[in-house]
Symmetry: C2
DNA sequence: GGGTCAACCAAGCAAGCGCTAGTGTAAATC
DNA sequence: GATTTACACTAGCGCTTGCTTGGTTGACCC
């Protein structure tokens, strides 16, 4: 129980843990399995993480932080039109689900396994991400590109996107860009 | 390990198990917790179910079968227009998520904990339900009410609806009917 | 009134769990 | 050259897990 900084070693271990959490689920993943995947013994694990819960929190924090950075970058790069921004957010979301898949699947499926303190801390990060979405959706509503309740629209859209981890096959014929385009077309009322 | 029929007693036990699975998650729910909730001892549980996995399968089967029945009934009761049928499916889906919430949350969250045989059997049930959706969406596409790829539209819509279990508050101001209406309005291009 | 049977219980086994304590060691720091 | 630090090891404690075993109860049946 030495440190809980963010050393490069810890980052790498976190990445490997994410993979196992996806394969087995958090509860079914034992510290011995984690240690073996990392090439160390189970006891050594607790040099890097206070307990098993902290590994889960680290995985989710990493993924959410990346999503936030990528989404912000996508918004800065794209055109200023509401439609372009909607599409940029959707594509960024899907690309994150692809490249950083493990961490995000864990965040979606194992959120409830976080203890209250970790959940509290991480929900602030998540709120920041969702705020980006609501900003973009507000702009689209103001332009008349979409209609409806901003709260509901935001949640419907995020639901549709997050659900993709259940069925989307990256090796299939559709690119993240295709999906983003199709989704935006579905919800906009004039192009 | 006597029987695995569907006695009324077993049905009741299944309902209670669903509640615990929602509260704690499948892996964290022990057979002792289940037994206590049911008012029996842990050993007696295995008179009704072969093993813990079978309880999970029973919960999910019950929920999916109900959803299928309710959706079919809703389709038979409503008008024949594509829009009415879309809305009826959406409302039925949301009402099922409400009234039969536990079983559905379990189906959504714990699907991966099913062993391969159970998963295979249950995915047929789920496919039958999704087929209803695709039929309704095909009709809406044919009428020009919505546009796009039928496969993608179906999955986006189901994603948006399933995601509601994460944020929807039945005690809040919005009724399932409101949500269904808003969702259909969001994706239709002419009303 | 003996037999059947679903439903339950008490007791416990073998395996696995998260985590701790104490030690070794090579590199970095003083 | 001595001390500290980072990282890993061995060994195992205390507890919980899913599940089994062998036996009891009470309602129903011919």
């Amino acid at each position: 129980m030495n440190v809980m900084n963010d050393s490069p070693r810890r980052k790498e271990l976190t990445r490997q843990a994410a993979q196992l959490f996806v394969q087995e689920g958090f509860d079914r993943t034992t510290v011995r399995m984690l240690a073996q995947e990392m090439g160390i013994k189970s006891g050594s694990l607790f040099h890097h993480f206070r307990d098993k819960q902290e590994i889960l929190a680290a995985v989710i924090e990493e993924g959410t932080q990346n999503a936030l950075v990528i989404a912000k970058a996508a918004l800065e790069e794209c055109d200023n039109s509401a439609e372009a921004r909607l599409q940029a957010m959707a594509r960024a979301h899907l690309e994150t689900l692809l490249t950083d898949r493990n961490a995000h699947v864990v965040a979606l499926y194992e959120w409830r396994r976080l203890d209250p303190e970790a959940r509290d801390h991480l929900s602030h990060l998540r709120d920041a991400y969702e705020a980006l979405w609501e900003e973009v959706i507000d702009a689209a509503l103001a332009e008349g590109l979409i209609h409806g309740d901003r709260f509901l629209v935001a949640r419907f859209v995020m639901g549709a996107l997050n659900w993709t981890v259940r069925w989307y096959d990256p090796a299939g014929p559709r690119s993240p860009d295709d999906l983003a385009h199709e989704l935006v077309a579905m919800i906009t009322h004039r192009a």
